[in-house]
Symmetry: C2
Subunit: 204 residues, 2 copies
């Protein structure tokens, strides 16, 4: 099999793709410091997203691991986690940042954000966003301490760490290389950087 083409998730921006069931998608933390907000929707059913609250219920865990099947809000299988070379603990509990995430703590209007990135990435595919589901925050560390408190930590990945998913239903997948430069979400000096994904396996 030839080396898969890398698709760029530009620093602080979003990118979406339509992926058929049976293919794999590998999400790569190219520089090891970047969090990647991840969403998926059943193709043709933007009201049926990958649902973190249903995945938590199914697995009785707040983080997911290799072998886990991730489901929609109607329990339709969407992904199986095939590999995770990162330290894991991908966050499932914190909202995607929006412009208001920044303005409410005093930053000026117009800060880049994952909600706008999702909308723009879907618009590139001529898809209107219905609402912003709670994201799967790949490489983000938002640990639950003492069963109650959430502690944000910088990512602990190595450059090139990746999560690979088998796509179980035709779907729209969207990513945002989180623009957060306020909280300790992104590593290194906190500056957003590019991440990448690859779609692996021939179309059915």
């Amino acid at each position: 099999m030839s080396k898969p083409d890398l698709i760029t998730i530009p620093a602080g921006r979003g990118k979406a793709a339509r992926i058929e069931a049976g293919r794999h998608v590998r999400v790569i933390n190219t520089f090891g410091t970047q969090c990647v907000d991840t969403w998926a929707f059943i193709d043709g059913h933007m009201d049926e997203p990958l649902s973190m609250e249903h995945c938590r219920e199914v697995h009785q865990r707040i983080c997911f691991a290799v072998g886990d099947e991730l489901v929609s809000n109607h329990y339709q299988p969407m992904f199986t986690i095939m590999a995770d070379t990162s330290p894991g603990n991908q966050d499932s509990i914190v909202a995607a940042c929006s412009e208001a995430t920044y303005t409410r703590v005093g930053y000026p209007a117009g800060h880049g954000n994952c909600c706008d990135n999702l909308r723009a990435a879907l618009a590139e595919l001529d898809i209107a966003s219905v609402f912003t589901p709670s994201p799967w925050n790949l490489f983000m560390r938002a640990l639950v301490i003492d069963g109650l408190h959430i502690e944000y930590q910088r990512p602990t990945c190595q450059p090139g760490d990746y999560v690979e998913l088998r796509v179980e239903a035709d779907c729209i997948v969207a990513f945002s290389a989180c623009p957060d430069d306020v909280w300790p979400t992104n590593g290194g000096d906190g500056t957003p950087v590019d991440a990448h994904f690859a779609i692996i396996g021939g179309a059915p």
Copy 2:
């Protein structure tokens, strides 16, 4: 002030109400054994719900406590928690049950569920449901153990325990006395029972 009228959330069913900002709503675990899935929407904006993932982000906690302000997906204040006589740890992380929650573990079609209860309760107010937000599961114990695993336990309330909220924005509030008789969600013998709520304070 006269004693507020109690409104019944019938066992295994839902009930919604329009409540103006400034009033209080008290949600009562009448028999001490019932979980009450709770949703709220900004009046006139069914796409702006109470958002558990935003509340978790704002408070950096997975459960909320007296004094906390609970917000919408646009960070609009919707409730302030004024009192909680229960043992607390109201669950914020598990999806509302739907018919598929039961069929996927082998129960026959037609099992009562919180998603259908939300739709029916809103329909009584002539409001169409856009989507089912992740609920605030009052009195439900879904504890996060070891920072990862979710452990379901029966409610540990006393009869009459309540959570009282000051309503911060005109909103639609909806409740479901969860019909779950499969998992240890509801206490006692697991049978759903009535719960109640009261709207307190004169209309503005």
